[in-house]
């Protein structure tokens, strides 16, 4: 059934479906409602014209509060409290507090008529701004807020606690000065029933939840407001009292250390650890301005602590090849094997780096070899898979594909599995040196297969990802938007890989269902590594990322100076990963803190190998290095 409006315009009780006054309503025979300018928990705020001034347009803000208490006695008390507080507010005279012109109650609604502030509140300003708000601007607003809070806290006979400091309650007027717009006056309209939400989740201090509202609470909430303004991280989206977990300078490195320290002090969990008074808070903010010169708009950037973290790391040994090392080493029986772009596979003593032998292929070697029994297996740009005796360094047999081999061989159940630019994944029987089967995928396979539970996982260059069984049948297939050059890893029945479409993917290993995808800033060819419910990968955006495997949230990211194309490896409590900036980074995987870095003279695009406290890594500077882990 269609409902029809029966009450005409101009009626005092002319309300929209959700109970708001319609524009054109004449409220209390004096205020002509123009439009809704805000919605609060208790009712709406309107812009209205005061009709007592017929010859000029005098705009006011009308705040409506709906009395929802069912008990008449309670309702009466609420109205009395409202009027008492309105009386107090009406006596306040401060440039940052809107003047109160009038208040009245009609039926179950009470109205407060205030000075209309032409401007935007800080929440709107935050949401409309791109990037961070300038530090000096936040500082200037902070000092003004301290001033007005000091005025309230110093009120006689009783101090006034604002109780609801947050960005949406602070207006910035046309002259870039702050105005506090929402006083705790509305608080008495809030019901305190079971299951209610916290008033202003995110900005209030812990003691406010014990029912205490003191000047200390305003100090905390102002700290929370400044934190939000500086970091753009909305505390209402975070667990309560978790500011310490979001250090300001981590979110916004442009903020000075001094400012961060002051805000942190205001945000202390225990009220006695914060500034004693709002005046102390203001003085600290003014000092930040003096020290940093921010108040003179002289932007002195804080001294960056140049990392003294070793350039003094000495390799255990280093061995020079004749061309770039793009591949990944493997260690077997005290010997390190690594392929080189000079076409050779090198065998070096793991302890001393002493040359044992080299085997020349007819093309560069960019993959990671695999050792099985007495032979080492690797593919080359020369289209061949080579099986070379590890004792003599002589070819035992080789296997031809129709394209270059960049995928690393994996050995399982007497077969060697690898991809080729001939678009196939090959399974070669080691005993017979013959093809067992090959699976055509439609594009080059440069991803190295991961084998677990008799399943073979890999991607190809048109972005298809495959799960094959041991006979080469497709169990499932998944499409990414761009090529998958990275090699997958399977952890807890979930397969992880990255793609040139900039995502890190998590798929159910059994069915191929996409569980989550994590967006990085640029494409990736980095093969992820997983440990302790973290999956670690990197991207051409220069970062190494650690992502929580359950919630798909970034736990940390580490910035290198260039693209990250090499893959990370985990050893003990650290992740080791190279970057095109030439450094090998050793990072604590739980925290993302740098433990050390080692500089080579060329990009590192291979994966390091860590074994027995030694890291082995090849660089485009032609060297393979052995470093203490």
């Amino acid at each position: 059934m269609e409902t029809q409006r029966i009450d005409g315009p101009g009626n005092v009780e002319d309300r929209s479906e959700i109970g708001q006054l319609n524009s054109g309503t004449n409220l209390g025979n004096r205020y002509l409602i123009q439009e809704v300018i805000g919605v609060g928990g208790m009712g709406s705020v309107y812009r209205a014209r005061d009709l007592h001034f017929p010859n000029v347009v005098k705009l006011v803000a009308v705040k409506e509060m709906i009395n929802q208490a069912p008990d008449p006695l309670v309702r009466q008390t609420i109205v009395q409290n409202f009027e008492r507080e309105a009386n107090i507010l009406a006596t306040l005279s401060h440039p940052s507090i809107p003047r109160i012109y009038d208040y009245f109650t009609l039926d179950n609604r009470s109205y407060l008529v205030l000075e209309f502030v032409n401007g935007k509140d800080l929440e709107v300003i935050l949401s409309q701004s791109e990037g961070h708000i300038a530090e000096e601007q936040v500082l200037a607003w902070g000092i003004e807020l301290c001033d007005v809070l000091a005025f309230l806290h110093g009120h006689k006979p009783d101090p006034i606690v604002f109780r609801d400091m947050k960005p949406s309650n602070v207006m910035i007027n046309q002259h870039n000065h702050i105005v506090l717009v929402d006083f705790g006056i509305a608080k008495s309209f809030q019901s305190g029933q079971k299951g209610t939400m916290i008033g202003t989740e995110g900005y209030s201090p812990p003691e406010q939840y014990r029912g205490e509202a003191t000047a200390q609470a305003d100090i905390y909430a102002l700290g929370a407001t400044l934190h939000h303004l500086l970091t753009r991280r909305d505390p209402r989206l975070e667990p309560p009292f978790s500011f310490a977990e979001r250090p300001i300078r981590k979110m916004n490195p442009n903020v000075s250390m001094e400012f961060e320290t002051v805000v942190n002090t205001a945000l202390q969990y225990n009220a006695e650890d914060r500034y004693k008074t709002i005046e102390d808070f203001k003085e600290a903010l003014v000092n930040v301005g003096r020290k940093t010169g921010l108040l003179n708009r002289i932007n002195i950037s804080s001294p960056t602590s140049k990392s003294v973290l070793n350039n003094d790391i000495k390799p255990v040994w280093a061995f020079q090849c004749e061309d770039e090392l793009r591949g990944t080493p493997v260690l077997h029986n005290g010997v390190v094997y690594i392929g080189c772009y000079d076409n050779n596979l090198y065998a070096l003593s793991a302890s001393s780096g002493e040359f044992q032998w080299k085997y020349p292929a007819d093309g560069g070697i960019v993959s990671r070899p695999a050792v099985y029994d007495d032979a080492i297996y690797f593919g080359s740009e020369d289209h061949r898979l080579h099986a070379v005796s590890i004792r003599t360094g002589k070819l035992v047999w080789s296997y031809y594909t129709e394209g270059r081999i960049r995928s690393s061989p994996r050995i399982s159940d007497n077969h060697v599995f690898f991809g080729s630019d001939d678009t196939c994944l090959h399974a070669v029987n080691i005993a017979t040196n013959r093809e067992a089967w090959k699976a055509e995928t439609g594009s080059e396979v440069r991803s190295s297969p991961f084998i677990v539970n008799e399943m073979i996982y890999f991607g190809n260059e048109i972005g298809d990802f495959f799960a094959l069984d041991y006979r080469g049948n497709i169990k499932w297939r998944f499409k990414a938007k761009r090529s998958i050059t990275s090699s997958p890893c399977v952890y807890d029945n979930v397969v992880y890989f990255t793609s040139m479409d900039s995502h890190l993917y998590a798929l159910d290993a059994k069915s191929g269902w996409l569980i989550w995808r994590f967006r990085m800033d640029k494409p990736s060819i980095v093969s992820p590594a997983a440990v302790d419910n973290l999956v670690i990968a990197g991207s051409a955006d220069g970062h190494i990322y650690a992502v929580d495997v359950k919630a798909a949230r970034e736990v940390w990211r580490f910035k290198t100076e260039h693209q990250v194309n090499g893959s990370p490896v985990i050893y003990k409590d650290c992740v080791y990963c190279g970057s095109v900036d030439g450094y090998l980074y050793c990072i604590e995987y739980k925290t993302g803190r740098l433990r050390w870095k080692f500089e080579t003279k060329g990009p590192i695009t291979g994966t390091p190998l860590v074994y027995d406290e030694i890291v082995y890594v090849g660089s485009h500077d032609h060297f393979i290095y052995a470093l203490l882990a």
């Binding site: 959700i18 019901s191 029933q193 079971k194 299951g195 209610t196 939400m197 916290i198 989740e201 995110g202 812990p206 939840y209 909305d234 209402r236 989206l237 667990p239 309560p240 009292f241 969990y269 493997v330 260690l331 077997h332 029986n333 050792v371 029994d373 007495d374 998944f478 499409k479 807890d492 029945n493 979930v494 998590a506 159910d508 059994k510 069915s511 269902w513 996409l514 569980i515 989550w516 995808r517 440990v531 495997v549 359950k550 919630a551 798909a552 490896v569 985990i570 050893y571 190998l609 860590v610 074994y611």
Partner: protein
């Protein structure tokens, strides 16, 4: 002989080489071994979910503001899918207008949204893959419920804990203080959701103990709920749901009065899944039944 020794030696090296991949292993406990044996023996085809639920208004409320939803499908045969399950509990906020409407709306919007997304994958020929990830679908469903509640029942609020299960992957979307638990074969019980409640937060910060939290006057205060506040950031996570284990989703009417250990005891000692679920609700009522009680119990067979 030399060859023989070498062969042994070579094998040893193979084991050593495993260490290069940093595989960390630890011996399994007896209970874990036992559970593996049990499962291996009782291999069940096709894999499926055994589902049951129970609800009670409790002993002190007149109105039931909880809502629950269960759906489980098995498609087995030539073209088989992993079993699909969707289980949701929403607990409307007391003291707010229309708590029961909010919880019911949340349930219908979320289940409707997810089933629409999966319809072409589960029931179409040819099966069309879902474009978004499981977590993206879950997140979008919850945001849609938030939008609808803000429009249709402004001022109301509800918790929601939704579990989307595909085979052995359990994806949880969660807001508020209803809970999901996993109970493993070796008799471990894990809460896999985190309450968005003030007391839970104070507890995490070490400000109050679990015992204090259980009797705290503000233990019902939430800092995140559907329909409340302009912003919403649901918790999303995906965890393995191993064969043989149980998933329990419940409102605080159950976990608020029945301790985890007792929940575990009731589930593992009951003769059937249905009885276990009924016994959980009875235990909450026996403890005073101060709030509405809802429980969904799922076992993964395979």
């Amino acid at each position: 002989m030399l060859k023989f020794i070498k062969k042994i030696f070579g094998r040893n090296q193979q084991t050593a080489q495993q260490a290069l991949d940093n595989v960390v292993t630890a011996p399994l406990s007896d209970a874990q071994l036992q559970s593996i044996r049990t499962i291996t023996v009782n291999h069940y085809e096709p894999p499926q979910f055994l589902v049951t639920s129970a609800q009670s208004v409790g002993r002190q409320r007149e109105l039931n503001e909880d809502s629950l939803f269960t759906l489980s499908t098995t498609i087995a045969g030539h073209s088989s899918n992993a079993p699909f399950g969707l289980f949701i509990i929403a607990d409307g906020m007391g003291g707010h207008q229309y708590g029961e409407i909010a919880s019911n709306t949340a349930l219908r919007v979320i289940s409707g949204y997810i089933l629409k997304k999966f319809h072409n994958s589960l029931f179409n020929i040819p099966s069309m893959p879902v474009e978004e990830s499981l977590q993206e679908v879950m997140s979008a469903a919850i945001m849609e419920a938030q939008r609808v509640i803000l429009n249709e029942a402004p001022g109301s609020g509800t918790t929601v804990t939704a579990a989307l299960v595909l085979g052995q992957q359990l994806t949880i979307g969660h807001v508020g203080d209803s809970r999901a638990y996993l109970l493993y074969n070796d008799q471990r019980i894990d809460a896999i959701t985190r309450d968005h409640s003030l007391v839970r937060r104070l507890e995490e910060l070490g400000q109050i103990t679990a015992a204090e939290a259980a009797v705290h006057p503000q233990r019902n205060v939430l800092y995140r709920a559907l329909g409340q506040g302009e912003t919403l950031d649901p918790d999303l996570s995906t965890v393995p749901f191993p064969v043989g284990s149980y998933l329990l989703i419940c409102s605080d009417g159950l976990w608020g009065v029945v301790p985890d250990d007792e929940i575990k005891k009731i589930i593992f000692e009951a003769p059937t899944l249905q009885r276990a679920c009924q016994n959980l609700v009875s235990a909450a009522n026996a403890a005073g039944g101060p709030d509405n009680i809802s429980a969904i119990l799922v076992q993964s067979l395979g």
